[in-house]
Symmetry: C2
Subunit: 509 residues, 2 copies
């Protein structure tokens, strides 16, 4: 009989092998999104599929599962949050998840979502939800079946089981309560902001910002906040993202608009925030749970914290604005720091999620969270979806889409089968505000540090409180341990109320 250690080592070795090939596939996808020759797409897709099939084979191998099941029964004398216990439990959970979904269902879902994204794209271009309706319905059936299989024998709902893939152990009920405590104050705050007589001059940050200057500037800023270019790189793509291709190879991608500075800059800060998380994980555990990110919500908290709490703060621009003016002279010569700061913090209800500011963004998410839950539960008939979408925009944001393209068809997620993914965005925003508030208390002179461009104390704090722990704690547990309280709505609403109140001269109270 092999002992605990040798079974554990063998499981880890196979998980690392799978990660080696997964990151190879991810490298091919990075390449696809940065400069694959036009005609090379089909072969590349087949290559990636072959690699992912090998990875899937390793991760669903029955002897691998047997070892994990045996280890689960023998790991109980290890500390629940130790590296060893977390490794066994997370790998077992991943394996168990894969096991519960029959190959046939996985295959049909893969086909439906590849097709789904094409159909969605066509429907959006034609501005016609009815073209997407049947495909979405098919995807919903498949995801519902997956959710039901995953929650079978537990007290969880199908939707919660789907969400578990992105935010392990999160409770839909808890989220609903917290989100409701975000929604009400935000709807009110945004109403006040919209009605305020004091408004930013958005023209201040539009003009001519040469792309090569933006590139150099973004590189400098990413490096300054702590993204390590010895272990990563910054490139360009049409849909920004962050991907990790090895323990010392984190790649962030952004895009530059030659007429709008904020798009590339905050895009870079956002992705660099993701990057600092990946670079802060323990490299000796690369490919294993202690060296992996805890959840998408926690990942988003790191990107949002650097993009918003840091990158849209007054202190940050006290440090950076002189450099910015010089870099983009003469464009910003006549724009003062205060005008610039106000303009990058403008709040304005809009129809499009990806263009939303940090206040309205969450309302976009809460709408999607409610609607997709009702879709999976079956309480919202698919034919009622476009009207339900528009009605919620009217009640929450005060504006109503007049087209499907700007309404229910604007996001790729559902066409790709990503149900349960949206709430992680707002989870990230909540956690970012809560972590930043705690860091401010604990580090002390954070504003002063930021105003001097000293980001290391904040980054170290995040390394210790979040990054170092990998998947040894759930997202909720990480926030609880770092902040001494569970995830809550208050830090985000307080942060926005204070900042926007000041900027827009809002009445107190």
């Amino acid at each position: 009989m092999p002992d605990f250690q040798s079974r554990f080592d063998s499981v880890c070795q196979r998980a690392r092998e799978a990660m080696q090939l997964q990151t190879a596939a991810d490298t091919l996808e990075w390449d696809e999104r940065t400069g694959l020759p036009h005609a090379a797409g089909e072969y590349r897709a087949n290559q990636v599929a072959s690699l992912r099939a090998i990875v899937h084979g390793i991760r669903t191998d029955s002897s691998y599962g047997d070892d994990l099941t045996w280890l689960m029964g023998h790991a109980t004398d290890h500390n629940p949050h130790s590296d060893i216990r977390a490794t066994v439990e997370c790998l077992h959970r991943d394996w168990d998840r894969d096991r519960k979904l029959p190959n046939d269902l996985v295959q049909r879902t893969a086909e439906a979502t590849v097709r789904g994204q094409q159909v969605w794209d066509e429907a959006r271009k034609s501005d016609d939800f009815s073209l997407f309706r049947n495909t979405l319905n098919e995807i919903l059936d498949l995801k519902r079946e997956a959710g039901e299989r995953l929650c079978e024998g537990t007290d969880r709902s199908a939707y919660e089981a789907l969400m578990d893939e992105y935010e392990p152990n999160a409770s839909v009920e808890d989220l609903q309560q917290v989100f409701e405590r975000v929604r009400r104050p935000l709807v009110k705050l945004i109403e006040q902001v919209t009605q305020s007589e004091k408004q930013p001059n958005l023209k201040a940050i539009e003009g001519v910002f040469p792309v090569q200057d933006q590139r150099d500037f973004s590189h400098r800023v990413a490096e300054a906040i702590g993204f390590d270019f010895d272990r990563g790189r910054l490139d360009e793509t049409s849909h920004p993202f962050c991907t990790t291709l090895g323990p010392h190879d984190c790649r962030i991608l952004t895009r530059y608009d030659p007429h709008v500075l904020s798009s590339g800059l905050f895009g870079t800060l956002h992705e660099a925030g993701h990057g600092t998380y990946e670079q802060g994980l323990r490299t000796d555990w690369f490919g294993l749970p202690p060296g992996s990110y805890a959840s998408l919500g926690i990942h988003e908290s790191q990107s949002r914290l650097w993009e918003n709490q840091v990158g849209r703060s007054q202190a940050f621009w006290q440090w950076l604005y002189r450099d910015t003016q010089q870099t983009f002279s003469p464009q910003l010569d006549e724009v003062g720091l205060d005008s610039f700061y106000f303009a990058i913090n403008a709040v304005r209800p809009s129809l499009i999620r990806v263009e939303a500011d940090e206040a309205t963004y969450n309302l976009h998410i809460l709408i999607r969270f409610d609607l997709e839950r009702e879709l999976i539960e079956g309480s919202l008939p698919i034919d009622d979806l476009p009207e339900a979408w528009n009605a919620r925009y009217e009640s929450d944001l005060g504006i109503r889409p007049d087209s499907d393209a700007d309404g229910v068809l604007q996001d790729v997620h559902w066409s790709a089968g990503l149900f349960g993914y949206f709430p992680t965005y707002t989870l990230g925003n909540l956690a970012a505000a809560q972590l930043f508030a705690t860091a401010t208390e604990q580090i002390g002179d954070l504003d002063e540090l930021l105003a001097r461009g000293e980001f290391r104390p904040l980054l170290d704090w995040l390394h210790q409180r979040i990054h170092f722990h990998g998947r040894c704690f759930s997202g909720n547990e990480l926030v609880q341990r770092a902040c001494g309280s569970p995830l809550s709505a208050e830090p985000l609403t307080a942060y926005l109320t204070e900042k926007l109140g000041r900027l827009y001269d809002l009445p107190r109270g």
Copy 2:
């Protein structure tokens, strides 16, 4: 019993699977050489090794070998050069080669050559062959053993069996005869050139050539000669190369020297020449012998033909020189076409192969070909190698290295175990001259076409005569069929004698 077709299909499918993963590994290596983060090298090397191990597993699988052996016995009623027969014979040959080399030998060779390249690098930096001597001896023993295993039961020598990996079916005896017929006239021609009173002004092509302008220019030129950027890309690296990552994904890499125009330009033409071969292969046979290049010598003939016979011709510069002057104005404003053309065709004996011109280059190769053959045969003791090297440089090129670094240590090949590789360079030069001479006869007004920038007729001729056939013919057979005569020294020596005679005002006859 499965029939011929089903066995054939199954073998093809496995070969294509192997190619899918091989090109994935090649993509990772391309990425490594274009911009891998500094700290990411070790993990990347392990990823590539894992992928190559999977590929090796597919290609040495015993049921794959059984099928190939069976097919070999049943393919005899197909035309010897048909796609089907070539597929069976080449895949069987590849499999048989792998089979004859025990895993242990392969493993020891892999380790010795990884170490060998490091030791060679150190030795070269220290300018001391004695530091490399023992490692080289070890590699020689391993390659000799491999060669002996490969030639066992045949009438071939160990060296010829090693060369077979790069130039299938080539005969060392034939090569020696042809090479000798190259060496004598070239030694004499180079002597005349060196003694001529008319010499080019090399300063004419040195100066300031901004890298971004060189990039755009190289891109334009590569596209003009027929490299298809919908199916490929051009990037930068420290050691230029060409790699194929899919049926529609050929990548060429060059490097630019801001003070020397010719380095980046002819580097691009060379690699684009390789690229046109890869892009000319039949995509429906990608990953199988009919869709693969025939040999390294033939590959080199395509790169050399575009770099030299086209790229260093007067006609080519009649087409391109005005654009060149405008692009690099004011640098070339005062340099006439004749001076430029003479400067890019300068011939001057030097110690370093990679910097050699098209005439002296072959002498560098012939020296290596003779010495490495004697090393493998055992007739040249390793301790005599540095002196043998220097003596040959003195007798063939009239100059003698005064250091190991500029002598026997200058090339990476032997440290990487590449014995039998060097002759393919001169094979390529010979075939390039012979193919170009035949194309000139058959197309007719080739000079006129080049002077108008019309490269398509030449490219189509090469597609039909060479590219289309993949591995259905050996390198020798391709030349024989395209030119109606076997590979010979005469076209190259005639081409160089004519061109250099004109440029250097050499006495006729």
